[in-house]
Symmetry: C2
Subunit: 216 residues, 2 copies
């Protein structure tokens, strides 16, 4: 039966996400992953090819939802609305898949060498599209001239700072996960920072900016 297979794969994948999130790929032990999942170690190798494959599958579990958060990006939508939806989706992703997202952020921060070429490709394409979108808005004068990749990276890193601050005394629920208050606060702070920063300077409009802004 394939039902039991799917279930066990899911259980191991979640355990792996947590172990990889806490210790990183190299330091995480398959023994600990198995223990956390409540299965003997060989089961991990029965359901996954090896440790690297398991790691790549953890990354895969979050890449789809991550890219989906970018679906709001369209050149002809209102920039502030797009950014608002985008940031909300990203923070919600951090709430839904905190560990897997942390693994991905850490992986990208370390060069992405363990991402499959196809995964790198999908992320890069989306990134390029989002950058092009932001650049268009900048050229039109709809948003301030902020380097698009820096902006996207800041959102990427900040959207999950809920977990990165856990080593300090913060408000946590009993099971060790940050409470909803925390997520809403992060959303509000990030929204404010990004939207304020992106507000175009009315004192120095760029070229044809005026006319196009009115069209919008």
């Amino acid at each position: 039966m394939t039902r039991i297979r799917e279930r066990n794969r899911a259980i191991i994948l979640i355990a792996a996400s947590e172990e990889f999130a806490r210790k990183g790929f190299a330091a995480a032990r398959t023994k600990d992953i198995a223990a956390r999942a409540g299965v003997p170690k060989p089961s991990v190798y029965y359901y996954f090819e090896n440790k690297e494959s398991l790691y790549a599958d953890v990354l895969e579990s979050v890449i789809g939802p991550l890219l989906q958060a970018s679906e709001y990006f369209h050149k002809d939508c209102i920039p502030m609305q797009v950014l608002t939806c985008f940031i909300r989706a990203r923070v919600q992703l951090a709430r839904d898949l905190p560990f897997a997202l942390k693994v991905l952020v850490s992986e990208i921060m370390h060069g992405g060498e363990r991402l499959r070429p196809e995964q790198i490709d999908r992320i890069s394409r989306q990134e390029l599209y989002n950058v092009a979108c932001l650049q268009t808005w900048i050229d039109r004068g709809q948003i301030a001239p902020i380097e698009p990749r820096h902006l996207l990276f800041t959102i990427f890193a900040a959207s999950q700072n809920y977990l990165d601050l856990e080593w300090q005394v913060t408000s946590h629920t009993s099971d060790g996960l940050p409470g909803d208050v925390c997520y809403e606060a992060i959303t509000q702070n990030l929204l404010r920072m990004v939207l304020k920063a992106c507000e175009p300077d009315v004192t120095e409009p760029q070229g044809e900016a005026r006319a196009l802004t009115i069209e919008q």
Copy 2:
């Protein structure tokens, strides 16, 4: 002679910074650190107690300069000037000690378990002081009510995104380090984001904010 000792320690420390920055503590090999430093592996253990001690010393090499960047924080200084100096100092630190800083950021993002208690203490104290400073400004209405720790973390993470974007095609110098243009762009973007976000809303001043703002 202690001169040769200091020199070799420094060489190994730099090599270790680079290896730890690229691979993390667990994945970095002392063999590779020795090779990068151009010394045989036992020399690493002659000059440092063990791998963990070497790692802690790498962190130590950047904690001092990191805390020094906070020297501008004083309750009675002008918030925007403090933040400007602080951000400039942080980005400059990222230029001066890119690898060691990356190790520290990664370490803190993973819970700081490998920081010595005394190192955690120093960082926490400075953090608490900076947070208190920001909170005072918020209470006085001098800056917008942005959660101080989120703001500090965003600056912390964003100030070194030069290296985190290296897996994409960016402008690098021949030796693989980002050029100065990149640093200035990061500084400008970060300054804009933070300063804009911190501008107090004149439309909704808080309580005694007016009077105190004028005093300043």
